[in-house]
């Protein structure tokens, strides 16, 4: 059984913009799948459809064999956005424990879990801090800890490192891989960065815009555990080139002279 199963999904927004069309994708357990594509290709929309934060206009999405809505209320996935979206009025510990409170865990279990999560993202000692006291990279690690705290089988990540500087980003890439391997979860990862997609993923799904659809699926056969050295591997460059060419092919197809430039209305 696939963790995520997307069948013939389409999404049309109220203005008439076709954000997604004919999306077919199955993601297996323990996969790390990146969605990459230019702005307006609907990759964030697709991620939100998997999470049942947006309803598709047509097609079906099943997560762990259940309808997406059921999977959401069962807390089958954790989501991480580009902004950490921490609640300012909660300390780091209480931010991480929020989903556990909603799942009615008792205090003792929550506290144990928070400590475990802080160790996982290497933020032990910061439980009493407030979000504004942490750097952007640390905040994003808190949001990863929060998403993992209730042990979801699926992680949805929407450009989680897009707002961070290059060095922090590369460090968090490594950390994410370590966490992914340790937690045994499946990851769907939206990104703008080709190198990031190749470095992290088992598969890269290339999308093209207007209407948003999947143009290529590129398996990444680099071995795990991946280290910083892989970024200098010739095969890494080869795969980066493959993804880049797939992206350009996708956008070439799109260059129809009559196409109106009205599809930028992505949420």
């Amino acid at each position: 059984m696939s963790v995520v199963e997307i069948k013939d999904v389409a999404k049309r927004f109220d203005g008439g913009t076709v954000a997604l069309e004919g999306i077919e994708l199955a993601i297996e357990e323990r996969e790390f799948v990146s969605l990459i594509g230019p702005s307006g290709c609907g990759k964030s929309t697709l991620l939100r459809i998997i999470g049942d934060l947006i309803r598709p206009t047509a097609g079906t999405v099943r997560v762990n064999g259940k309808p997406a809505a059921q999977a959401r209320t069962d807390r089958d996935y954790g989501i991480i956005f580009q902004d950490a979206v921490l609640y300012d009025w909660r300390t780091i510990a209480r931010n991480i424990s929020l989903p556990l409170e909603l799942a009615r865990w008792n205090r003792r279990r929550r506290n144990e879990r928070v400590q475990e999560m802080l160790r996982l993202v290497e933020l032990t000692g910061f439980e009493g801090h407030y979000p504004w006291q942490l750097s952007g990279g640390m905040q994003q690690r808190v949001s990863i800890a929060r998403a993992l705290s209730f042990d979801p089988s699926l992680l949805l990540m929407d450009e989680p490192f897009g707002a961070l500087d290059e060095m922090t980003r590369e460090r968090l890439n490594l950390e994410l891989l370590r966490i992914w391997e340790a937690s045994g979860s499946t990851v769907v990862f939206v990104t703008h960065s080709i190198a990031e997609a190749v470095f992290l993923s088992t598969r890269v799904v290339v999308m093209s815009p207007r209407p948003g659809r999947i143009s290529h699926v590129i398996p990444i056969d680099l071995p795990y555990p991946r280290t910083a050295a892989i970024r200098e591997d010739p095969h890494f460059f080869e795969l980066v080139t493959n993804v880049r060419e797939a992206l350009h092919l996708g956008s070439d197809l799109d260059r129809k002279p009559a196409a109106p430039a009205a599809a930028e209305a992505q949420p």
Binding site: D74, R75, F81, Y87, L102, W132
Partner: protein, 274 residues
């Protein structure tokens, strides 16, 4: 991965004595201004030979206050109770209605233009009407004016706070399968709190204005507004000024009371210092 060096600001907390000491230093410029104002006031009245009964010197006002202190303070207390009652009723209703309008947005959208318009009405103009509707000698009529004055700013600000939540904060709650009530309790209301406290601080001032001005149009003889009004019309300006001073003191205390509750509630805010 290794934990890189990170910039973490220390939590700005110290011993209580240390904090008081630091704050005392912060207050020195303000105190200097206060002293200068009083000295200039005192001396310019003497130097320019301004008629004393029209503009009394601070020392005269102070001694008048001292001789009438029992009457003034109890009159102030009477009026403060009216303001407090009106504040509680008006702000309470404002908060309640804002919650309802934020929960049922279409309802809120239909009413919003009128609420904003109502916010611009000089509500104090209704004071004589309120005195006619309710017994002018009761506290109730002044509470009604103060309540109406407090109601709109609290409602509008609370509604703005409840609806200015980052969309992803809401998406996150949905991703946890949280319902509407949980989202209100854990996200919308905490987000709105800074807005609410700003409105409540404004409301303390409005409540005092409502109570005192309401009393200008008639009220119990034990009320501060009546006292200020009657002393002014009988040219007892020193007494009127002393009454105004007492009104200021109650008003400032009221404001500070809410500000302290704010500081204790919004502990997470880096600086609510004003």
């Amino acid at each position: 991965m290794t934990t890189a060096p990170v910039a973490v600001q220390p939590i700005p907390r110290g011993t209580l004595a240390g904090r008081v000491g630091r704050h005392a230093l912060d207050w020195i410029p303000a105190l200097v201004v206060l002293v200068v104002v009083f000295v200039v006031w005192q001396e310019s009245i003497a130097v320019f030979h301004i008629k004393r009964f029209l503009a009394p010197q601070p020392t005269d006002i102070a001694s008048t206050f001292w001789t009438n202190r029992h009457e003034l303070i109890s009159a102030g207390w009477f009026t403060f109770q009216e303001a407090l009652g009106g504040f509680a009723i008006g702000s309470g209703l404002g908060l309640l209605i804002a919650l309802i309008l934020a929960r049922w947005r279409s309802f809120g959208r239909a009413l919003m233009p009128y609420l904003i318009a109502a916010n611009a009405i000089p509500i104090i103009a209704f004071a004589p009407i309120m005195n006619a509707w309710f017994d002018p000698f009761s506290k109730g009529s002044k509470m009604a004016i103060a309540a109406v004055l407090c109601f709109f700013p609290v409602l509008v600000n609370t509604l703005r706070g409840l609806t200015s939540v980052h969309p992803q904060s809401i998406e996150l709650m949905r991703s946890y399968g949280a319902g509407e009530i949980e989202t209100f309790r854990r996200v919308r209301i905490p987000t709105a709190l800074p807005f609410i406290f700003t409105a409540l601080k404004i409301a303390t001032v409005l409540a005092m204005i409502g109570a005192i001005v309401g009393e200008y149009f008639g009220g119990a003889f034990t009320a501060l507004g009546v006292l200020i009004d009657s002393r002014s019309t009988t040219f007892q300006f020193k007494e009127a000024w002393a009454g105004i001073g007492v009104a200021c003191a109650y008003g400032i205390a009221f404001y500070l009371g809410v500000a302290i509750v704010e500081r204790l509630t919004l502990r997470w805010v880096p600086s609510t210092g004003e």
